[in-house]
Homo-oligomer: 312 residues x 2
Amino acid sequence: MTVAGVGEFGLIDRVTARLTHGGSCLLGPGDDGAVVAAPDRRVVASTDVLVEGRHFRRDWSGAADVGHRAAAANLADIAAMGATPTALLVALCLPADLDTAWAEGLADGLGAEAATVGASVVGGDMSASPTLTIAVTALGDLGGRAPVVRSGARPGDVVALAGRTGWAAAGLTVLSRGFRTPRLLVEAYRRPEVPYAAGPHAARLGATAMIDISDGLLADLGHVAKASGVGVDVHRDAFEVPRQMRDAAQALGVDPYSWILAGGDDHALAATFPRSAALPAEWRPIGRVVEGEGVTVDGAAYDGPAGWDHFR
Amino acid sequence: MTVAGVGEFGLIDRVTARLTHGGSCLLGPGDDGAVVAAPDRRVVASTDVLVEGRHFRRDWSGAADVGHRAAAANLADIAAMGATPTALLVALCLPADLDTAWAEGLADGLGAEAATVGASVVGGDMSASPTLTIAVTALGDLGGRAPVVRSGARPGDVVALAGRTGWAAAGLTVLSRGFRTPRLLVEAYRRPEVPYAAGPHAARLGATAMIDISDGLLADLGHVAKASGVGVDVHRDAFEVPRQMRDAAQALGVDPYSWILAGGDDHALAATFPRSAALPAEWRPIGRVVEGEGVTVDGAAYDGPAGWDHFR
């Protein structure tokens, strides 16, 4: 059955029937607006849009995979502010001939990813469109903490990473060369493993700046450097190339550090901490904030590929 | 200059430079998430998406017009919950060859419409896409009031309308027939005049149910009837056909009541109130909640065109 066949309201009924609601959802889908708990009296909000052919391909990712990825991209933004995600709203633009099962699978993925942090899909909108497009807005609660912004890094701060980088980029390279394995890399691209809890933890540990790694580690640290008026130096030997990644890089003729340093889509979190902060294992030091501007690797400009620009 | 020419970050800089921020915006664009005041400890959230060719045409509406309309559609949803809008987040999907001036004009329209209620654009995302698409999420604050949902209408309640219906539909018919006048109708389509304040007012007046009229008066009252398990009877003589609309209807060979009763896009608000409520002039009685189901006009089924289904 196509989405045109069941119609707008039929599809909304089918999709919302699949959703379950977290404790922050005070009023879910079906009215003009949802009502979400905001105990902190401030709400953190972030929007990310995925466009077919640009951010995902239906032959590379299943519907539920795309749902996981769309949710993860937004939930990671909330975590990167030091907040706990509470809710997602989803605007779906679907080709009229799309099978409803795809939309239902997408909803399952969105809901399952949100559930990993106790959040849920509380509302949304649907329209037909020639271009399959998924715009997600995530909301979150700061729990009394100050938001951790990009502009607070100070020279001398430690740069640390929670989560992994390069895996999704490696998986994407594998898929773009026409392969389906190694599965570990492909799955890392399809469903990023985001260290959501590390965001609020970093806020409690006194992080001075934080960002979600979506454009690539160096590009995103560049945003922190620019916003903070500092430089960032990344230590290359802080990154060990995992065996599966090294083998794939060799087979595909790619420098694995281009995945690790410039590949996006893993949604790791990078943060800066005062030198005195006692970092738990979840936050691995990878560099230092320095006087100056821009991002260097071991003190020198990085000559690999840069990050991602969605219009180029 | 095209959006591809200035690139993603260049365009984000250009657009965000045009935005001003309302008092509820605690942290605006430029970080992983925005921070918005939520003094009520609950936040109302709603998402609506506009797709070029389906919800708007660039030859029928200017960029700022589309911004006004996109903002209005979402702000009206917040008002229809009885809440006061605080913030918008905007996901923009733009063809790479679009002129940046269009995106800037859109931002101006979004910001200007939000400013009419003291809200502002606090964040968003951009991507290239073959299909120009605008997904807006609006947030709002309930100010201690209970949300006014669709399911609270009770037999005997008065059905009342704030704002006007049929004007936008008339303007759209005018444009679709290749005309540009009467300007009053065309402008009503391009920039709906939404009675935002009537939403929170209705909550304070004891409204039992409320909805934003976006699919058409009868279709949206049908949503209230279904959610509440009641019928709604609309009194046709509660609607006087304005002269400009009557003249245009005659010239175009259209029944003006099909605009008034079934046309969407004016974003009027419809609410139900206990018979005892003392309604101010802003809330005009147009019918009655009855036992049963569905929507009738003067006790009989309406045989004009039905409301809008975005997949058909």
